[in-house]
């Protein structure tokens, strides 16, 4: 087959995924999908391999890889019909990596024969200020089920689903957007088949996968052969217990790479467990970032990488382990892999980032409207120093990249006042190149009581530096109530905290590690940091 034509179709397949993503963001209803773009779209071949993906957050890189297989396990291909749509969110049956991420997948038919699948995943932020102790605490678990049958919505199933959410109208609107994105993707794929023919399109899908695999293997060959290990510790088990070890051993041989997480601690009672899908998503993210940021996110790339972790460990959790805040651990695992690859690829990795998915949730009743509200926000921090330059200050790192909520939107919507949104001086690890700074965000509660959840990492275990670089600053959650002289530390992961009118909460997110000996820092950079007040003693 003519390879230029295959390339053209390959590009068109990616365009389809991108266009689905645009449509989903445009037509969704909730802030979390629309404004923060917490969603992704993908196109699959009939075997269920991801051919093209448009991911808006890296956490979704692996989140979709099992969905088609799980559908086919339950609904053999001959039982699928044009216009079917499946929905699933359960991390233990391939639906996602935690329950709020809901996947919607549809087979695509051309002339009555399946030619592939389209799917999208969107984070339905329905709010939960509770701490969870098992997957059953975390909301409705949906295995892959048929919610639209031959183009007809199964209202009974939809009713069951919506009954389990706090904001059913918003959920219904978001589902509608997800269905519409799939319809668009299916129509586009059908147009492509009509234009080029089924065989050519299938060959183009295979060529795309082969290309992804070739490209990542070429990059793997650039890593010196060998075995590379690293160890780090989570702050705690999610409920205030002792630190939990994270361990990885990476073996590189020619164009093969294998990551083995044996030695990582057992799954924990807190809600920071990681299912296997979330682990591979994290691995795919780091390898893409370090080896080849432009490698296409598809099944060809994925099949070149081998990931093992003991069942029942923190990074391959088994039911009924709670997983709501799995991102805390994923962020740390990403740093762990960077640490392991540092001796092999010193110019491409960074020192430890803030390694957290620092977040808070305020939920209560707005005294002005009498309506229940949930305000959730994740807050960035420092990014690790690099071999030739400083780390980035105040950004979202690794598997997440959601934007903040503007103060002028937040205060209009919720009975809260933001008093400060600032960099944290001295939180960047010292080094030839400095680690990025963390963020301080302070909120005062106005005229009502509210329930507070805060979750942080690296409150105990600081972000490490590389090659002589210093540690980054640790994170903290602080509460200052009227009448108190100094703020009180709330701990690393708290939930159900009752806040009263006038209470002031501050989240301090971690900075990041430095790179190289601090003594080698250029005087001009020192002077700039001192002048800018980013380092107080430089």
């Amino acid at each position: 087959m003519d390879r230029i034509t295959l390339d053209v179709i390959g590009a068109a397949l990616l365009s389809i995924a991108e266009e689905m993503g645009e449509a989903l963001i445009k037509s969704s209803y909730s802030t979390n999908i629309k404004e923060r773009q917490d969603c992704s779209t993908a196109l699959f071949n009939v075997r269920g391999e991801v051919v093209a993906q448009a991911e808006h957050i890296p956490m979704h890189l692996g989140s979709l890889i099992m969905i088609v297989h799980e559908i086919l396990k339950r609904y053999p291909v001959e039982r699928l019909h044009e216009g079917d749509v499946f929905v699933g969110n359960d991390p233990y049956t391939g639906g996602s990596t935690h329950l709020p991420d809901i996947t919607v997948a549809s087979p695509v038919f051309a002339d009555g024969v399946p030619v592939g699948f389209v799917a999208n995943i969107a984070h339905h932020a329905d709010g939960s200020g509770r701490q969870t102790h098992s997957i059953w605490d975390e909301g409705l678990r949906i295995p892959p089920i048929r919610i639209v049958e031959g183009g007809r919505l199964r209202e009974d199933v939809m009713e069951l689903v919506l009954l389990n959410f706090r904001l059913p109208r918003e959920r219904r609107a978001d589902f509608r957007a997800q269905f519409a994105a799939n319809r668009l993707g299916a129509a586009r794929l059908q147009e492509l088949v009509q234009r080029y023919g089924r065989d050519t399109c299938v060959a183009a899908m295979d060529a795309s996968l082969a290309y992804g695999e070739r490209r990542i293997r070429a990059a793997v060959r650039s890593i010196p052969d060998g075995a590379y290990g690293f160890e780090d510790w989570m702050d705690d088990d999610g409920v205030g217990g002792p630190p939990v070890p994270l361990r990885v051993r990476i073996t590189v041989s020619g164009d093969r790479i294998a990551l083995d997480f044996t030695g990582t601690g057992a799954q924990v009672p807190g809600d920071i467990n990681v299912v296997y899908l979330a682990l591979v998503a994290t691995v795919y993210y780091v390898l893409k970032a370090v080896l080849d940021p432009e490698v296409p996110a598809n099944g060809g790339f994925y099949r070149a990488i081998d990931v093992t972790a003991p069942a029942g460990s923190l990074v391959n959790a088994q039911p009924p382990a709670p997983v709501a805040w799995r991102t805390q651990t994923c962020q740390r695992v990403a740093d762990l892999i960077l640490g392991a690859l540092a001796p092999a690829l010193p110019a491409r990795v960074t020192a430890a980032t803030n390694g957290a998915n620092s977040a808070w949730v305020f939920s209560g009743t707005n005294p002005a409207t009498g309506e229940y509200y949930v305000y959730l926000e994740t807050i960035g921090g420092g990014s690790g120093a690099r071999a030739t330059k400083d780390g980035l200050d105040a950004v979202q790192v690794h598997v997440t990249n959601t934007s903040n909520l503007p103060v002028e939107c937040l205060e209009m919507e919720y009975p809260l006042v933001v008093e400060e949104y600032a960099l944290v001086p001295d939180s960047g690890g010292a080094g030839r190149f400095r680690g990025g700074l963390g963020i301080r965000r302070t909120v005062r509660v106005l005229g009502h009581d509210t329930t507070f959840l805060g979750t942080l990492e690296r409150q105990r275990v600081a972000p490490w530096g590389l090659r002589g670089g210093g540690e980054g600053g640790r994170g903290a959650l602080l509460l200052l109530s009227p009448g108190m002289a100094t703020p009180r530390e709330l701990g690393s992961k708290v939930a159900g905290v009752r806040l009263e009118a006038g209470d002031v909460v501050t989240i301090v997110t971690p900075g990041a590690g430095g790179y190289g000996p601090p003594a080698e820092r250029a005087p001009a950079l020192r002077a700039r940091d001192a002048r800018d007040g980013k380092v107080s003693s430089a």
Binding site: R3, G212, I379, A394, C409
Partner: protein
């Protein structure tokens, strides 16, 4: 009446002069002088007026499209700027939206903030979201800030306080203090530059304005003086990102409004020429040497976006919705580590340029692929002022083919299909993704390379008609001759959409109208030429995205139901659904004031004796066509020899001084009396 449009780009300075007495349109192209753009302009102006036997003093109108602001932002060459902001928020400029610059590239950097941290000062002051004063502005803090800034030699100061769009009193007080204590400083208040909500976007825009202020105001004022020195009595105008012109004095105050000054003039030019040809809705396709700009024009009016990112900096002022792709004729083709063919964003530029320029370039570019496939003549460009050489082009493309393991012809085909796909993506962004079907539009192709690629694009998109204007290479300069005066005003108040709110809105509009008429008076716009457009930013309660909806009958609305209906229709069109029973909010009122100008009444092209264009044919050569699966003997026509009424059948090539048009087999083109080439694709 003699009018002049001047467009200064990175490579060329283009001038278009319209002499209404003689009914003559004269154009001139000369190399730009990047280190002193005004000199290039004056050289061009002097040469062109001398050539046309016009005295500069006879010019009645001069408008200028400039990249001075854009370049200063891209090259980080603006003023030493300071910021005064609400206590607790000086770092917002750096934190921005917390997102990192690239999802995967660990080596990517955020743009350097335009004001370093040590020149950002916090002062005590705070409003609540509804404008209630929580903390009064501390003049003491302002005094301290200014005292320390006075020692820093700052040239510009931006002021941005939370909720200043609701009540600007604190910003005005601070501004007055700055003007008094730091005389000569350029001052930007966020409530004046971008009175809209969402603090980061407003802050970033205000800071960019201050940063560009001293440089741009010096440049446009100098331009104004030079024009005056030539004896031109009418003060000149500067084009803005919104496709409308504004006086030099106004541009000096709002440089952030000129960041798309150049490309927006091209869109205005395309809109004007198409409209004159009876075509109202178009997609513009402006492909140059390094990049391509695409925009949508609806019923003669270009689509507007309230905000865009330029060089990593968010700028929230209304701009034409122009989508830019980093691919043009000079873009270099390469093979990535997985063995796939890629094109751009690296460009061979003007030096050494594509291999076919014969100036030592060895990288294969889009232009070289066009030469190898016979689509571009290997003999001449710019009427023989520049020769294209076939041999180096073939060599470069053959090298590329070797890397890919395909023949040179397949490599060239590949380059064109990759570029084509990039262009399709850009057109989808301005059409499909906004809820518009591109098949309902005419593609207007310009820029040096636009007409080369438009026919294939049109076929792939299912677009039925392509319009190639008579002088595709100077459309930006030409567009300036037709651009209206334009001022965008906005007032932000989040209110529920109901009858009571409309009364408040009417009052808001009155205030904006007062500002608009004062401006139109200052600009001396005659009453018959004034036009006001009213629109609302609206959303469902709880949504964090707004849609701009025009007031149904153009007037200040008195019927909440009608306005609601207009919102629902727009929501349905853009997002594919509308919830009839949900509460709707108005976020902002927008008033746009226009001072319309009569565009040149270009002379009609002489009519041909018959439809046969034989008299314009200069020869025949072998050109590769995808549909034919190989090279086909193809007639070559000279654009300047075509006459109104001539009809061309594809495959065919039409060559002219600054561009080449390709017609595919099955496509037909007619020359209209305004010298446009109108291609009918006969496609889907």
């Amino acid at each position: 009446m003699i009018t002049l449009g001047i467009d200064v780009g990175g490579t060329f300075t283009d001038l278009a002069l319209w002499d209404a007495r003689r009914q003559v349109l004269a154009v001139f192209k000369l190399p730009s002088v990047p280190e002193d753009p005004a000199r290039g302009i004056l050289d061009g102006l002097t040469t062109l007026t001398a050539r046309e036997a016009v005295r500069p003093a006879e010019l009645t109108f001069v408008a200028h499209g400039t990249t001075v602001a854009t370049n200063a932002l891209l090259e980080h060459k603006g003023a030493r700027t300071a910021l005064v902001t609400t206590r607790g928020f000086r770092d917002l400029l750096e934190i921005a939206r917390q997102k990192r610059p690239h999802l995967y590239d660990l080596q990517a950097d955020k743009p350097e903030p335009l004001v370093p941290r040590h020149r950002r000062r916090e002062v005590r002051e705070r409003l609540a979201w509804d404008g209630t004063v929580i903390d009064k502005l501390s003049l003491e803090d302002v005094g301290d800030a200014l005292e320390s800034l006075a020692r820093e030699d700052v040239e510009a100061v931006a002021v941005c306080f939370l909720y200043s769009f609701v009540d600007a009193t604190h910003e005005r007080l601070a501004g007055a203090e700055i003007r008094e204590r730091l005389p000569g400083c350029f001052v930007s208040l966020s409530a004046e530059v971008s009175p809209e909500f969402r603090e980061y976007e407003r802050l970033s825009t205000t800071v960019a304005n201050a940063y560009l202020g001293p440089l741009v105001s010096r440049y446009v004022q100098r331009f104004g003086h030079e024009v005056e020195r030539l004896g031109i009595r009418q003060p000149p105008y500067i084009n803005q990102s919104n496709g409308g012109i504004i006086s030099v004095a106004a541009a000096a105050q709002a440089p952030v409004r000129t960041l798309l000054s150049g490309p927006s003039a091209g869109v205005m030019g395309a809109a004007w020429l198409s409209r004159a040809a009876g075509i109202e809705s178009i997609i513009t396709f402006d492909m140059g040497g390094t990049s391509t700009d695409v925009a949508r024009v609806e019923h003669g009016r270009p689509a507007i976006t309230p905000q865009r990112t330029i060089a990593g900096h968010t700028v929230r002022v209304p701009s034409l919705e122009i989508e830019t792709v980093g691919a043009g004729g000079g873009s270099i083709a390469w093979v990535d580590p997985g063995g796939a063919l890629r094109v751009g964003p690296t460009s061979a530029g003007a030096h050494p340029g594509p291999a076919c320029y014969g100036r030592g370039g060895t990288a294969a570019t889009v232009t070289d692929a066009n030469v190898v496939l016979g689509r571009l003549s290997s003999t001449q460009l710019l009427d023989g002022r520049m020769l294209l050489q076939r041999e180096p082009a073939e060599q470069a493309i053959a090298e590329l083919g070797k890397d890919l393991g395909v023949s040179p012809v397949d490599a060239a085909r590949g380059v064109l299909s990759v570029v084509q796909n990039n262009m399709l993506g850009a057109i989808r962004v301005v059409s499909v993704r906004k809820g518009y079907d591109p098949r309902a539009y005419t593609l207007v192709a310009f820029g040096g390379a636009g007409p080369l690629h438009a026919a294939t694009l049109a076929r792939d998109l299912g677009v039925r008609r392509v319009l190639v204007p008579p002088a595709p290479g100077i459309l930006c300069a030409l567009g300036l001759l037709a651009a209206p005066l334009r001022l965008d005003l906005v007032r932000t108040r989040v209110t529920p959409l109901d009858g009571a709110a409309l009364a408040g809105l009417a009052q808001g509009f009155e205030e904006l109208e007062r500002q608009a008429s004062a401006w139109l008076d200052r600009e001396g716009v005659a009453p018959g030429q004034r036009r006001l457009l009213r629109a609302f930013d609206m959303r469902y309660v709880g949504q964090n995205f707004e849609l701009t909806v025009e007031a149904p009958d153009g007037a200040s609305p008195t019927d909440a139901g009608a306005l609601r209906g207009a919102f629902l229709r727009e929501h349905e069109r853009v997002y594919g659904y509308a919830a009839a029973d949900e509460a709707v909010q108005i976020v902002a009122c927008r008033l746009t004031a226009f001072g319309d100008r009569e565009p040149p009444a270009l002379a009609a092209l002489a009519r041909a004796a018959g439809a046969d264009p034989g008299e314009a044919q200069t020869g025949e050569r072998a050109v590769y066509f995808e549909d034919a699966g190989g090279f086909v003997a193809t007639p070559i026509y000279r654009r300047e020899r075509l006459r109104a009424g001539h009809r061309l059948c594809g495959p065919a090539i039409v060559e002219q001084m600054d561009s080449t048009t390709v017609l595919l087999g099955g496509q037909e083109a007619a020359v209209d009396e305004r010298a446009n080439l109108v291609v009918v694709t006969g496609g889907a």
